[in-house]
């Protein structure tokens, strides 16, 4: 039986573990997301800034070099042209200008002697024509600036440049005009090598960002583990504590908040354990006190009982030897001693139940025989109407069954008067004994309390013959068999107490034996 149980418990525990891991995943996920976002923001902004700065630096440098060269070429070559050059002259000059280290295309525009506009393009770049130069640039180049000392401008024409993209390739277009009616020169420089460099830079930055993201995810995992593992341990410990294992403690390592939390948990568990121990000890002490007290009462009671019997015999002897003044006193002592005996006996019984030392002594019992013997022994045969077939056997503790029956029937006789009807029914695994009286029944407000200790049905009744423990002892005796007693009012009047007992209480008895053995070991 035990290994199977252990297996089931182990299985449940692993399942619980899975569940908790799943639940913790959300926190883990949140951590990973936050870490990722932080890494992404940092990497993207850093790469963005780096890219932008780099791009500007590279382009500016290239541009400055190209424009410097172009300016130089314009001054040296185009400046030497006559104001109205021929197509050939223009073409030659354009070729010379393009033949520099910077490899840019040159377009020269001028007016020849006939007033016709002539164009000359260096052959370096295919079809560098005026269409390739944006109109705004052309306008700016051909605009004559006001020259004057007040404006600080010394030249009538300036060099203008613009970056354009044609068919996906970036170009630098610049243009200027020779002062005093010379040719207008344009240049076109492909920025493709720079764009390629910048592209590969962007790729590298992108890869770096990706790596940073992966790294941050791993870091987040690690961080989550360092945070979540203690949290998980805390969770497990809290669950153990909840299951009643009050000696559960956490190992405290480090000085962080989680260590603080563990320490707080340990303090709380310690305080709880101490509290429960204290309460258990107090409870145990008061129980032991009642047990010891009823035990101590027995010794004088044994002596008194033995002697009281002698007095009783003297009373029954009818020799008239007893003083009539003393006789009532002796009678009182005899009857009250018997009451005290019953009370102490019941008290002992109750303390045994409370301490859990009550045991079943099982035997095979014929229920009908047992009930007959019980009512016969108490001279109740005339007052009880028994409806039971012989041959209903059950395996239970005959002494305890007798206690239950005596209390139920005695109670019915006391409150309901005779006749009391006792009916026995049996199923395959249960015996049901109903005890019904013909009294006024039990008031509804009393019904839930009939099995309480020392509960008296009416406060006006100053004293009862019973100890006030009878029904509660009957109930405890039913419970130790794994049975039950219920109290109700019958529709046709009178109270009905129904006792249900299993037909075989062996399993329960063995279990309690095992418990004792375990307690004995501890």
């Amino acid at each position: 039986m035990t290994p199977v149980q252990g297996g089931v418990r182990g299985w449940a525990a692993t399942r619980k573990g899975h569940l908790s891991r799943l639940r913790f995943t959300s926190l883990r996920l949140r951590l990973v997301v936050v870490f990722g976002l932080v890494a992404l923001t940092a990497a993207v902004s850093a790469s963005g800034i780096a890219y932008w700065l780099n791009r500007e630096a590279v382009l500016t440098r290239t541009q400055d070099a190209v424009l410097g060269d172009f300016k130089q070429a314009m001054q040296n070559r185009a400046g030497t042209l006559p104001s109205h050059p021929t197509q050939d002259e223009l073409q030659r000059t354009a070729g010379q200008m393009a033949n520099s280290s910077q490899r840019f295309g040159v377009l020269l525009v001028a007016e020849d002697d006939n007033g016709r506009t002539v164009y000359a393009s260096s052959g370096g770049l295919d079809g560098f024509s005026l269409q390739d130069v944006p109109a705004s640039l052309r306008a700016a180049v051909n605009k004559k600036q006001s020259v004057g000392a007040d404006s600080g401008n010394k030249y009538a024409y300036h060099l203008y440049w613009q970056r354009v993209v044609d068919h996906g390739t970036p170009y630098l277009v610049a243009g200027t005009r020779v002062i005093d009616g010379g040719a207008t020169g344009y240049m076109l420089k492909s920025l493709e090598p720079e764009a390629k460099d910048l592209n590969s830079l962007a790729w590298s930055l992108g890869i770096a960002t990706g790596l940073a993201l992966i790294g941050s995810a791993l870091l987040a995992q690690a961080a989550a583990s360092t945070v979540l593992k203690p949290v998980q341990r805390l969770g497990v410990a809290a669950r153990r504590l909840g299951e009643g294992k009050l000696d559960t403690r956490l190992r405290v390592s480090g000085t962080d908040e989680l260590a603080d939390l563990s320490r707080t948990f340990n303090h709380a568990a310690e305080a709880l354990e101490k509290r429960v121990d204290d309460m258990a000890a107090r409870d145990e002490a008061s129980r032991r006190f009642v047990a010891d007290m009823s035990h101590e009462l027995r010794t004088p009671l044994t002596a008194i009982t033995a002697v009281t019997e002698i007095l009783e015999e003297e009373l029954e002897a009818e020799t008239g030897s007893m003083d009539p003044m003393i006789e009532p006193a002796v009678r009182l002592v005899v009857s009250e001693t018997r009451r005290l005996n019953d009370l102490v006996e019941n008290l002992m019984e109750v303390t045994r139940f409370d301490a859990g030392t009550a045991r079943l002594v099982l035997d095979d019992v014929d229920i009908a025989d047992q009930i007959t013997a019980c009512i016969d022994a108490r001279a109740w045969l005339d007052a009880v109407d028994l409806d039971a077939e012989r041959g209903i056997h059950a395996r239970l503790d005959p002494r305890r069954l007798d206690v239950i029956l005596a209390n139920l029937i005695g109670n019915a006789l006391k409150h309901g008067g005779s006749p009391v009807r006792v009916a026995v029914r049996a199923t395959d695994d249960e015996v049901v004994i109903a005890v019904q009286d013909h009294g006024p029944g039990i008031p509804e407000d009393v019904l839930p309390h009939v099995f309480d200790r020392f509960y008296k049905a009416s406060a006006s009744r100053p004293r009862s013959d019973g100890s006030g423990l009878g029904l509660s002892i009957a109930m405890e005796n039913a419970h130790i068999h794994g049975g039950e007693i219920t109290a109700a009012n019958s529709p046709e009047g009178g109270a009905v107490f129904t006792l249900r007992l299993p037909r075989d209480a062996s399993a329960l008895a063995e279990e309690s034996e095992k418990d004792t053995a375990k307690n004995g070991d501890a």
Partner: protein, 228 residues
């Protein structure tokens, strides 16, 4: 056996000892008393009583130990007087060889009835004998021999064996045996039977742990068989 049975009462509490002595004397017994187990054992050797009423809680050696010491040499009946009906006490008492027990506060009449029932167990009743394998029960001499050797049985053990041997092969329930041997009412403690059967098996069986004579009938009780 003397016409007036003589008892030895071992009880440490003065009041109980005096009261029980008073009560038992009135019931017609001769009562000797001792306050400790040691005194009781000494008195036992001097006086040879018919029966011992023994308190469990004694200063010095306790009632169980006294019981065990008596059983080493003597088979005379012992009734335990226990202050608790705690089950463990009863079981230990029965295992140490007591014939019966009463729980305090005991009524003198109940104790007297128990004493008389125990003493009756030693009385002979018929004049025949029966044999079960190597075991011979002589009802005339009230002796039991195994392989020709005399067995030392207490009157209770002897009576139990006689009741079983009177109905060989027939199962007797614990309640029946309690009525027949102990003369208890319907609430007799069935552990008395179990403990006595164990002691009896230890004496009559070849291998007490696997009995061939006194067999347990599950759910019923015990049965005496003739071994094959």
């Amino acid at each position: 056996m003397s016409p007036v049975p003589s008892l030895l009462l071992i009880e440490d509490d003065d009041a109980i000892r005096t009261a029980l002595e008073l009560s038992l004397t009135r019931q017609g017994h001769r009562v000797a008393t001792a306050a400790t187990g040691e005194d009781g054992l000494k008195l036992l050797r001097e006086q040879r009583p018919d029966l011992i009423v023994l308190d469990v809680m004694l200063p010095g050696i306790d009632g169980f130990e006294v019981c065990r010491r008596i059983r080493r040499t003597d088979q005379l009946p012992i009734i335990l007087l226990t202050a608790r009906s705690d089950d463990i006490d009863v079981v230990v008492g029965l295992e140490s060889g007591a014939d019966d027990y009463v729980v305090k506060p005991v009524q003198g009449r109940v104790l007297d009835a128990r004493i008389r029932a125990v003493l009756r167990r030693g009385e002979r009743e018929s004049n025949d004998s029966a044999s079960f394998g190597s075991l011979v029960i002589d009802r005339a001499a009230m002796t039991v021999t195994k392989n020709g050797e005399d067995l030392q049985l207490t009157p209770t053990e002897l009576r139990l064996l006689l009741e079983l041997s009177r109905r060989p092969g027939q199962a007797l329930s614990r309640q029946q045996l309690l009525r027949l041997v102990w003369e208890h009412d319907y609430l007799g403690d069935s552990r008395l039977v179990d403990a006595c059967v164990q002691r009896l098996r230890a004496k009559v069986e070849d291998v007490p742990s696997s009995p061939t004579l006194i067999r347990t009938v599950r759910g019923v009780g015990y049965r005496l068989d003739t071994p094959q």
